[in-house]
C-alpha cells in the first residue's frame, strides 16, 4: 500500500505541469471554483463523452463537452464498401433503433435509383420504424430514470424492450443490429404469428409504460428533478439544430412524419405531442406520449399490411431468387453482377431525412456512378443535441447534468460515427 505522485493508478490525475491550456475567453480558476471532468469513464456519460465542468460549489459555471471517444470511421469505411454492405454500418449509427437507420438509408439509395418499393414493404417498413422508435424511447426513458436513481423504472422498461428485441430477432435474426432492410424493399416476410407477437409486444410495452408512468410521472422528487432543468426555448433550440423530441419539448411541432411525410405516414392517424416549457420534464412527457402514439401507429399498420411482393422485381436492384440463380444463366449473372459490382447508383448526390426517435436523421449520399458510395454522410440528431448541451446546462447544478444528458438521449454511434 503506497502512494506515489507518478503512480499511474491515481484515479483523478493532476493537471499537467505548467499553466493549463485555456479555451478562448476563459478566465483562470476563480477563488471558489473547481474544474471537474465528468467522463468518459463515468456512469452517466455512456463512456464516450467527457464533460469539462467548472463548478462553484454545485452550480455549473461553464460546461464544455468533449466527444470522439467512439469515433470509428463510419463515413470513411462506407466509402470502401458497396451500397448494400453499408447497411450493417448504418445499423450501428443509432444502435438503439437500428431499424430506423436501415430503412432510412435504403430509402435514400432507392430515391437515387428512382425505384418505388412495393406496398407491402412500405407498410412493413412503417411498422418496423415505429417499433424502432418505441425501443429507442423505452431505452432513453429507462436510462435517464436510472441515472436519477430510479433503478426499478429502468428495469421495468427494459423488460418491455426485451420483448421487442425478441420480436426483431424473430423477424430478422438479430436483436439489436438488425440489418433488416435492403435496397429495393424488405428481404424478410412476416413470420407465422407475426401479428400476435407484435400485439404481445405492444401489450407489454403499454403495461410497463403505464407502470412507470404511475411510478414516476407524478412522483414529486422525479417531477422536481426534471421540471425546470435543462430548459431551452424553441428559438434557441432551432438555432442549435435540435430536432425531434428535444425541439418538440420546447414547443415547436416539427415532426417530419407530418411535415414531409414518407412511407405511409400521411395515411395514418397520429398526434405529435408538444411540450410547453422546453425542460426535461416536458421531454420526458413527450417521449412517453410518443411511445403511445407509436404503439397506435403500429396497430394501425399491423392490420393493414397489403399482400404482394416485398422487393422490387428488378434484377439490377434486388437479388434474384435463389432458384433462378441455380437454374438460369441470367439469374446467376444478375446475382454475380449485383454482388460483385454493387448497385449502379447514378452519379450525383441526394439528401433524405426521416424522423428518427432522436430527431431528423438525414443521409446525404454522393455517388460517382460506381458500385460504392463516393461519400456517405449521416446527419446525426445527437450531434447537435450534444453540441447544445452547454446551453441547456447554463446555471444548472451538477445533478442536473445527468438528468439533462439523459433527456437528450445522446447515442455515441451516430454522434461520433
Amino acid at each position: 500500500m503506497s502512494g506515489r505522485k507518478d503512480d499511474p493508478r491515481r484515479l483523478w490525475s493532476d493537471p499537467p505541469a505548467g499553466p493549463p491550456p485555456l479555451a478562448e475567453g476563459l478566465k483562470p480558476l476563480g477563488h471558489d471554483e473547481l474544474d471537474i471532468e465528468l467522463g468518459p469513464a463515468h456512469p452517466a456519460m455512456h463512456g464516450i463523452v467527457k464533460l469539462k465542468l467548472r463548478v462553484e460549489g454545485e452550480s455549473i459555471i461553464r460546461c464544455e463537452p468533449e466527444v470522439g471517444y467512439l469515433h470509428r470511421g463510419f463515413e470513411k469505411t462506407c466509402e470502401h464498401r458497396r451500397w448494400t454492405q453499408c447497411i450493417p454500418y448504418v445499423d450501428r449509427l443509432n444502435y438503439v433503433s437500428a431499424p430506423v437507420n436501415d430503412i432510412a438509408f435504403c430509402m435514400t439509395v432507392e430515391d437515387m435509383l428512382g425505384v418505388a418499393v412495393p406496398a407491402r414493404a412500405v407498410a412493413l417498413r412503417t411498422l418496423l420504424m415505429e417499433a424502432g422508435r418505441i425501443v429507442d424511447h423505452l431505452t432513453c426513458l429507462g436510462a435517464s430514470a436510472m441515472e436519477l436513481g430510479a433503478f426499478t423504472a429502468f428495469l421495468w422498461l427494459m423488460q418491455a424492450r426485451e420483448e421487442w428485441y425478441f420480436f426483431l430477432e424473430h423477424y430478422c435474426g438479430a436483436r439489436i443490429t438488425t440489418n433488416l432492410s435492403r435496397i429495393g424493399g424488405q428481404p424478410y416476410d412476416l413470420f407465422t404469428g407475426f401479428e400476435a407477437e407484435v400485439e404481445a409486444c405492444l401489450k407489454k410495452t403499454e403495461d410497463m409504460v403505464f407502470k412507470v408512468h404511475k411510478l414516476s410521472t407524478r412522483n414529486r422528487i422525479f417531477h422536481d428533478r426534471l421540471r425546470g432543468t435543462g430548459v431551452i426555448d424553441a428559438d434557441t433550440a432551432l438555432d442549435l439544430g435540435f430536432t425531434g423530441p428535444l425541439l418538440r419539448g420546447s414547443g415547436l411541432d416539427l415532426d417530419l412524419r407530418k411535415a414531409r411525410p414518407y412511407l405511409l405516414y400521411d395515411k395514418l392517424d397520429f398526434h405529435v405531442p408538444v411540450g410547453l416549457h422546453g425542460d426535461n420534464y416536458d421531454r420526458y412527457l413527450v417521449r412517453l406520449e410518443e411511445i403511445r402514439q407509436s404503439a397506435s401507429l403500429v396497430r394501425q399498420v399491423l392490420h393493414a399490411i397489403p399482400e404482394g411482393p416485398l422487393m422490387v422485381e428488378d434484377p439490377h436492384i434486388s437479388l434474384v431468387p435463389k432458384t433462378a440463380v441455380y437454374n438460369h444463366i441470367e439469374g446467376i449473372i444478375h446475382h454475380f453482377k449485383l454482388l460483385t459490382g454493387g448497385h449502379a447508383v447514378p452519379a450525383g448526390h441526394w439528401y433524405k431525412a426521416v424522423e428518427a426517435p432522436n430527431g431528423e436523421l438525414g443521409f446525404y449520399l454522393v455517388s460517382d456512378g460506381g458500385g460504392m458510395p463516393y461519400r456517405v454522410r449521416a446527419r446525426p440528431p445527437s450531434l447537435y443535441a450534444t453540441a447544445g448541451l452547454p446551453e441547456m446546462l447554463k446555471g444548472q447544478m451538477i445533478a442536473d447534468v445527468v438528468a439533462t444528458f439523459g433527456s437528450i438521449n445522446m447515442i455515441g454511434g451516430e454522434l461520433e460515427r
Partner: protein, 246 residues
C-alpha cells in the same frame, strides 16, 4: 415559391452570389454559391421573412479529389454542403460552395446558425478546411496527436495513429492453469501511458511527387472521354425521388 424565385430574392440582394441552381423538389433543391458571398447569403437565407431558413440541418464536406473528371491543378477540391430547412415554409434547400488551394478556407457560418459550430470543427479535422471568422477550431472527434485528415480521399483507410504503445495480444491458452504464470509475467505491472512516435505510420500523401500531374492527366482523359466541360460537380441525381410512392 420555387427555386427560381428563391434565387431571384438572393440575387437581388447579393449580385453574383449564386453561380448555379438545380431544382429537384421537394428535398433536393440546391444552389451553388460563390464562397465569397457565403456569410451574407446565409444571413439573408436565415432572416429574410420569405425564406427564413432557421434550421441548419446539416453541414458537411465532400473531397472531390477522386471525383471523376476532377483536375487538382485547376479545380477546387472541397465542396461544402449546407442543408437548410425552413420550418415556416416547410422547404429544404441545399447550398454548395467550394474551397480549394493550399489552405482551403471558407467563411464560418457559426455566427448565423450556432448549429454549425461542431460540424465546422469536424470538417476542419476531417478535411483540413479552415473556417474564417471563428475561433477555436480544435479537433472534435480526433485527438491532438492525430496528423492528417482522415476523410480526405488521399488518407488511407487503415492509417492508424495509436496513442498508447500497443502490445501484441497475449495468446489465449486453453489450459487454464497456464493462465496464472503467463498472465502474471506478462501483465502484472502498471502499463503506464507512453507516448510513442506515430509519425512513422503516417500515410504518404497521394499528392506527393508527381501524383498531381498524374491525377491531372487522368482528369483530362476522363473529360475527353465523357465530353464533359467545366467542373462536373455532384448535382442532384437525375430522376431521383420517390415520385412513384404508393
Amino acid at each position: 415559391m420555387d427555386l427560381a424565385g428563391l434565387r431571384l430574392i438572393l440575387e437581388e440582394k447579393h449580385q453574383g452570389a449564386v453561380e448555379d441552381a438545380a431544382a429537384s423538389p421537394p428535398d433536393n433543391d440546391e444552389l451553388l454559391l460563390n464562397a465569397a458571398f457565403l456569410r451574407p447569403v446565409c444571413d439573408t437565407l436565415k432572416h429574410h421573412p420569405r425564406l427564413s431558413f432557421r434550421l441548419m440541418a446539416d453541414l458537411c464536406c465532400v473531397d472531390l479529389l477522386a471525383w471523376p473528371g476532377f483536375d487538382p491543378a485547376t479545380d477546387k477540391r472541397f465542396m461544402l454542403v449546407y442543408h437548410l430547412y425552413s420550418v415556416a415554409h416547410n422547404r429544404r434547400l441545399r447550398l454548395k460552395t467550394l474551397a480549394g488551394g493550399d489552405d482551403p478556407a471558407v467563411d464560418s457560418v457559426a455566427a448565423v446558425w450556432r448549429a454549425a459550430d461542431w460540424p465546422e470543427r469536424e470538417i476542419h479535422e476531417m478535411f483540413g478546411v479552415r473556417f474564417n471568422g471563428r475561433g477555436d477550431l480544435k479537433p472534435l472527434f480526433l485527438y491532438e496527436e492525430f496528423q492528417g485528415h482522415p476523410l480526405c480521399k488521399d488518407y488511407p483507410l487503415k492509417g492508424q495513429q495509436p496513442v498508447v504503445d500497443l502490445r501484441a495480444p497475449l495468446p489465449l491458452r486453453e489450459d487454464p492453469a497456464h493462465f496464472q504464470t503467463a498472465f502474471e509475467k506478462a501483465y502484472f505491472r502498471p502499463v503506464g501511458l507512453t507516448q510513442i512516435d506515430n509519425t512513422a505510420r503516417l500515410p504518404e500523401s497521394m499528392l506527393a511527387e508527381g501524383a498531381l500531374a498524374r491525377l491531372s492527366q487522368a482528369a483530362k482523359a476522363y473529360k475527353k472521354r465523357h465530353g464533359i466541360d467545366g467542373q462536373g460537380l455532384p448535382g442532384p441525381v437525375r430522376g431521383g425521388g420517390d415520385h412513384e410512392r404508393p
